[in-house]
């Protein structure tokens, strides 16, 4: 087999590097217009060349480590040494881009420079002399346009060719030709350094190392093990240069590099004179977008658009979510844009599905109401023991004849009020179509639809069976229904069926059910990032966020957090200030994510129907925690000190490409979907197990959940939640299972409250909270807030640990989040009870103390000195 050739793709952020990588390898890859989106190096095979690996490095400005990304790239280039470098350069900003190229050239590796965006350069009327640059930097130079897919392949193939040729022609030990860009005295000092480190470093990169030592790069000096005595000797040369040139060594190198580039550009770059100094299109957009007064409203408006698209009632996000949950993953769905008329003979023939459902609901209400009235009549005057509970098979015609159920109606699902009448008369139908209220034609349209049911009506109503969706239009069965059907056909036992349908599939389906919302959030953010707006958001928000110890760049992770916390925590990598980055990791997950909105939705529906603002308040609480938490954390010794600088390149605005936005969205979404498979699946099987088995491993029925392992476990830890108002095994079990995945809180709560009174699972939950607290609404609020603001799901916790860099920092983050969630629920419940007249107790004192501690943490004076970490 042929030896594989490694080509490293290196260049400045926004030079079109990732676009080129995608074109060369055809692989899926994160493309962004946000400086520093690619954090880890990614490999791909060059299309058509199985032996060539293209390695995409993060976009960086220099080989002096400044951010995490620069460190990753530098380590890779210097230590692992690819066979050749493909240096991509933005042709519209070539002077700045060449700064990095001069450093790359010093590594002594074969290098091809691909000058990108040549289409724009030509359009601008600028001219670049490739040959002169190639001669000066001792590399090959080609013009390409990554966006138009022109020239990229040729550049890569040239790099492969050079890599292979170098191996053949130059044996080890033969020094490559590298450019000398510095003035006499500096070159002299570098020569001295080269002499003293010979043998310690790879021969081809000796010049790069020597320059780094001249700059007094601590990492390199330490790595090469240069002793104090030896360094002292080299220091003399460096100091001579500094004295002669009146600047520090590092500035000398930087300045002379730019001097060299300037001299080169004077000869090889002809800018179109007409264009000089004129504001570009981007400048004009920025005038509006970063305007003192307009900036914030524009930003908030764009967030509102995202909000509408993702979670607003009747918005595309909600419609898609409903379809995903009930249709695609659930029972099934009707193909849209086709008629849904009933084909089968029977009561519903020719009817639309929705109408048939309405007819059935009406008849079902008649049937239930009359049966209730009949039973009541039957039981009249009887002792409790003799009472008939269920509808007998045979109806006593004599008794039945006199039974009339009065005031029957169909409940509106949302309000519980009777539905309004809808008549079929022409007049009303017309009005309904044009969206008007249908009143005044005397047919009673629009009034509450209430009727009476006698025996004859009951007999008629009984004939109506629930309409089968399969008989209407084109019905596509859902995955859930298919699984159930498949298991039934295979003839598996109830245990296995329950394990698969309720345990495994149930959990995975809830996670997948959020994909639409999260997809829309990510799609929107990808668009904002790729067009260049996100960098402006960081600029606008920087002043505000700085006060809370964060950076303007912290805003992107928080927005991503609205979708899912896992990519949010990872997005914090773009922040180069270590303190701000760590704080962002800790705080970003307080934004209620897609899964947490399920908890909010359920509690809002069950407990806060009249308090519509409770749901929206949760986002506000999340933001408040981020602000106050930021202030408090900044005052601790871990995060003390000023994060003083903010430097960010604002890329030129451009229309994002469809494939770019798609790659970008998919890369974030992929993580979320994988989580469903790799983590949620086994976790749900485990959860199902502890719910359905007792300690002697006997299978339990749903009603026997009080014998389960989960019950005992919940009982042990229930005391922890006592002060929060939901200290029972059910509350504990639901809260713990929520750490697997947040949406699990609602699913578990439904399961563990099965034993409660009530007709529906919603009523079970309402009665459960009523049974454990005198103030069920407060207990419910406390439960909800606890689960929203304690550490996120275990996947996010794992990522938090990784991104914090050490066990100590990881525990600090999780500990802080635990404290915040607990303290918040405690204070909400205890103070709520106090104001509601529930009296004063030990827990009230505890809550007051916790509150004072939090208050002190926020308002105490800031520490001055930072602790080295």
């Amino acid at each position: 087999m042929e030896k594989s050739v490694k080509i490293a793709l290196a260049g400045n952020p926004n030079s079109g590097k990732t676009t080129l990588f995608n074109a060369l390898t055809g692989s899926e890859q994160y493309v962004g217009n946000w400086p520093g989106v690619t954090v880890e190096k990614k490999d791909g095979i060059l299309v058509g060349h199985k032996e060539v690996v293209i390695q995409d490095l993060p976009g960086i400005y220099s080989l002096s480590p400044y951010s995490l990304e620069e460190k990753v790239s530098r380590r890779f280039l210097v230590e692992e040494g690819p066979d050749a470098i493909l240096n991509i350069v933005d042709g519209t900003n070539i002077e700045r881009n060449l700064f990095f190229s001069t450093q790359l050239a010093e590594l002594g590796l074969p290098m091809v420079m691909a000058v990108n965006m040549m289409d724009v350069v030509k359009k601008n009327g600028d001219k670049i002399d490739f040959d002169r640059i190639a001669k000066a930097l001792r590399c090959e130079v080609v013009g390409i346009s990554a966006l138009k897919n022109e020239g990229g392949r040729e550049a890569a193939e040239k790099a492969v060719e050079m890599a292979k040729k170098t191996v053949v022609e130059k044996g080890p030990g033969k020094l490559p030709d590298v450019p000398h860009v510095f003035s006499g005295s500096v070159e002299h000092a570098i020569a001295h350094i080269e002499e003293s480190i010979q043998g310690k470093v790879p021969a081809r990169s000796i010049r790069w190392y020597a320059i780094k030592i001249f700059e007094r790069d601590r990492d390199i000096i330490k790595k090469l093990g240069i002793g104090v005595g030896e360094m002292k000797h080299l220091e003399e040369h460096i100091r001579d240069c500094e004295k002669e040139l009146g600047d520090d060594a590092e500035s000398i190198i930087t300045n002379q590099r730019y001097d060299f580039i300037k001299r080169l550009m004077d000869k090889s770059l002809a800018l179109n004179e007409k264009r000089k100094g004129k504001p570009t299109m981007s400048d004009r957009i920025d005038k509006v977008v970063t305007h003192r007064i307009l900036a914030l409203p524009i930003f908030i408006l764009s967030l509102c658009v995202m909000w509408f698209l993702a979670v607003a009632e009747k918005g595309p996000g909600t419609i898609l979510t409903d379809w995903a949950n009930d249709g695609f993953l659930g029972d099934g769905w009707h193909l849209p844009f086709s008629t849904h008329e009933c084909r089968e003979e029977g009561k519903y023939k020719g009817m639309e599905f929705e109408d048939a459902q309405g007819v059935f609901a009406r008849n079902d209400a008649s049937k239930t109401a009359w049966e209730e009235a009949y039973l009541e009549k039957l039981n009249e005057g009887k002792a409790d023991a003799e009472k008939v509970e269920e509808m007998p098979e045979e109806i006593d015609e004599k008794v039945a004849a006199g039974v009339v159920a009065k005031g029957v109606f169909v409940e509106d699902e949302e309000t519980g009020e009777p539905l309004a009448k809808e008549c079929d008369c022409e007049n009303c139908a017309k009005k309904r179509e044009s969206g008007e209220e249908c009143e005044g034609c005397g047919c009673g349209c629009g009034e509450p639809d209430i009727w009476d049911v006698d025996f004859a009506a009951y007999k008629a109503a009984k004939e109506f069976e629930e309409p089968d969706p399969k008989q209407f239009g084109v019905w596509v069965p859902g995955v859930g229904a298919l699984i159930t059907e498949g298991l039934e056909k295979a003839g598996v036992g109830d245990t296995v069926k329950s394990l698969v349908v309720d345990g495994a599939w149930g959990g995975v389906a809830t996670v997948l059910g959020f994909v639409p919302v999260i997809f829309i959030v990510f799609l929107f953010l990808a668009f904002l990032e790729d067009c260049g707006y996100m960098a402006r958001v960081a600029f606008i928000m920087d002043r505000l966020l700085r006060r809370f110890g964060l950076s303007g760049k912290s805003f992107i992770p928080m927005l991503v957090g609205k979708g899912c916390g896992v990519p949010a925590v990872m997005a914090a990598r773009a922040i180069e200030n270590e303190r701000a980055r760590r704080m962002t990791v800790i705080l970003a997950t307080f934004v209620p994510c897609g899964a947490k909105t399920v908890i909010i939705a359920m509690f809002a529906a069950l407990f806060f129907r009249e308090q519509w603002y409770v749901a929206a308040m949760m986002d506000v609480v999340g933001i408040a925690i981020i602000i106050l938490g930021g202030i408090a954390l900044k005052k601790t010794r871990f995060f003390a000190g000023e994060a003083s600088s903010f430097v960010l390149e604002l890329p030129a605005y451009h229309m994002p490409t469809v494939s770019g936005v798609w790659h970008h969205t998919w890369n974030r979404l992929k993580g979320y979907i994988l989580k469903a498979g790799l983590v949620i699946f086994p976790a749900c099987v485990f959860l199902w197990f502890v719910m359905h088995f007792d300690w002697s491993l006997n299978l339990l029925a749903d009603e026997e959940i009080e014998k389960s392992i989960l019950h005992d476990f919940g009982t042990w830890i229930a005391w922890v939640f006592k002060p929060l108002g939901f200290g029972s095994w059910q509350g504990a079990a639901a809260s713990v299972s929520a750490e697997i995945a947040k949406e699990q809180a609602t699913a578990t709560l439904k399961l563990v409250t099965v034993g409660m009174e009530g007709a529906s699972s919603g009523a079970h939950i309402q009665n459960f909270f009523a049974s454990i607290s005198e103030f069920p609404k407060l207990a419910a609020l406390s439960f909800m807030m606890f689960n929203l603001f304690v550490p996120p799901c275990m996947v996010a916790i794992a990522v938090t640990f990784r991104e914090m860099g050490s066990q100590k920092w990881g525990w600090l983050a999780i500990g802080f989040q635990l404290f915040v969630g607990y303290a918040l629920a405690l204070c909400v419940y205890q103070f709520g009870v106090l104001f509601a007249g529930g009296g004063f107790g030990v827990c009230t004192v505890m809550a007051a103390l916790v509150f004072l501690v939090c208050l002190w943490a926020v308002v105490r004076p800031a520490r001055k000195a930072a602790v080295k970490t």
Binding site: T254, N255, P279, R543, E649
Partner: protein
């Protein structure tokens, strides 16, 4: 004078870049070196958008105060 004192639309030549080592190094890589021309293209509550070479760089006021310039 420092960059922070410059108004929107004004041009200047960089004299010296000071401040924290790491930030100075990063600014250098972005083109903020003695002798380079900068132009203030935007300003928002003390933070500035600067044109250096062909790129636009956003800096905050603390960073702008560390960059000494000669107005032209």
């Amino acid at each position: 004078m420092t960059l922070a004192e410059m108004k929107e639309g004004e041009r200047a030549r960089i004299v010296r870049v000071g401040g924290e080592e790491a930030v100075k190094r990063h600014l250098g890589a972005l083109g903020f070196v003695a002798g380079t021309m900068v132009r203030v293209v935007g300003e928002s509550y003390g933070n500035q958008i600067l044109a250096v070479h062909e790129s636009r760089i956003a800096v905050n006021d603390a960073t702008a105060r560390d960059i000494e310039v000669d107005k032209v």
